[in-house]
Amino acid sequence: MSARDGRDWPDPTRAAEARHDLDDVLRRALHAAVDSVEPAGDGLTRILHRLTTPSAMRQAALLVTEFAHLAQLIIIWLEPAFTGALRLGQRHRAGYRRAFPHQAARAPLRPARHWLRPALALASAAAIVVIAVVVLGPVRQIVTRTSLNASTGASTPAHAGAHSAGGGHEPSPTINTTSTVPARPGTTSAQAGRASHRPGTAPAPSPAVTPSGSPTAGPSQSPGPTPTPSKTKHGHHKPHPRKKKTPHPGKSHTAVRDQAARAPGSPPGLMVNLT
C-alpha cells in the first residue's frame, strides 16, 4: 500500500495476488463440483441410436402418414360392409312403410316420459287393492254364512262339546261377533251363556278327570258332554253313577233357537246371546 498525495492506493501486486487466489478458488471449486458427476456408460450407444433413428419431426410425419394410409385402407376394406348395411336399412325402412303406412307417416314418437311407468305401477297396485276389498268382502260373507249354516245343520257331539265348553268353538266370525254382543243391557255373553246352559254346559273342571277313575264326582258336577271325565286310566268307559239324561248341547242350541224364532215377543238378540 503506497501513500501518494495522502491517499491510499491499492497495491497492484496484492491485487494480482488476490485475483490469482480467486481464480484458484474458482478453479478448485469448479473441479471439485464436477468430480462427482459421472455420465452413464451407454453414451456411445445412445449417440449411435440417435444417429440411426429419425428425428422427432420425421417420426411424427411418418406416424401421421402411416395413420392416414391405415385409415384409407380400413375405409376401403369396410366399404362393402357399409354399403350392405345401408342397403339393408333402406329395405327395412321401405318394408316397414309398406306394412304400416299410417305409423310410418306419423311423426316420430315422443320421447318417453320418465314418470309414466312408476305412475302406472302405483295406479295398478291401487286398483288391485280396491278390487280385492270390494270383491272379497261379499265373498267372505258368503263363506261365513255357508259355514254357519253347515255348523248349525250338522250337530256333532264334538261340535256341541266345543260349544258347551264356552270357549273352544270354531272361529266363526258370526259366532265371535254374537258372543261378544250382550243380549240385554247389563248382561254379558258369559252370563247369557250361563243362563242358557245352566247345569249342563258348565265347563268340566279338572276334578272331573280323575286318574283313579273312582266315581267321586259330586252331584253338582255335570258329566259333561266331553267323555274325558268318564275315561279311566284303564281305557274303557265307565258309566257315571249318577248320570242323568241331559239334552245334548247341540240339540239344546237348536231347540232354543227354534223356540226363539217361534216366539214373537222374544228379543232379536236372543239368538246372538245363545250363540
Binding site: R19, D23, V25, L30, A32, V37, P39, A40, G43, L44
Partner: protein, 179 residues
Amino acid sequence: MNRPLTDAAPAPIPVRWDADRALTAMYGDHYRCLVRLAWLLVQDITTAEDVVQDSFAALHTTWRRRRYRDEALAYLRRSVVSRSRSLPRHRIVTERNASPSGPGIPGAELGALFPPEHPAVVGALRSLPARQREALVLRYYDDLPEEQVAGAMGVSKGAVRHHLARATAALQMIVEMDP
C-alpha cells in the same frame, strides 16, 4: 483426475478417418469432460448427457463437411454451449429453484470432502446469468484462454472479459459473505 479440456490434449484426428471412427475416438477422449461442462451449465446430469449426445450426433452428421477436422473439439464445445443455452427457459428455471439434492449434485458426504467454498461457488454459479456462467466455466473449468472462450461463446474477446469480470465480482462477493 479431471483432464483439462484443451485442444492440444488429445491426439489430432487423422484426416482419413471416417465419421464413425472419429466419433468413437472423440467420445473416448472428451465425452466425460464435455458432460461435466454441460452439467455446470445446465445443472442436470440427464440434460447434460442429452446435450452432449446431440452434439456428438451433429458432429457425426457434419463430419463430411468439416474442412478442418482438428476443430472437432472446438465444434463440440461450441455446440454444447449453444445447446445448453437454447434449452427451454422454464426447464432451467425449474432446475434453478429445485432443491440442491439433485441427481448430479453431490450429497452431504461428498460435500464434506470438497473445499468449504465449493457449495457457495456452485450455488453462486447457478444465480449468475447464462453468459457470465458460460464464460466462467469455460475459463476456469476448461482453462481456456480468452480467445477460445470467445470462440466457444460466439462473442468477442472484450465481451468475454466483461462477463468474466462481472462474474468473478459476483462470486467473490458471495463467497466472502458466506462464512
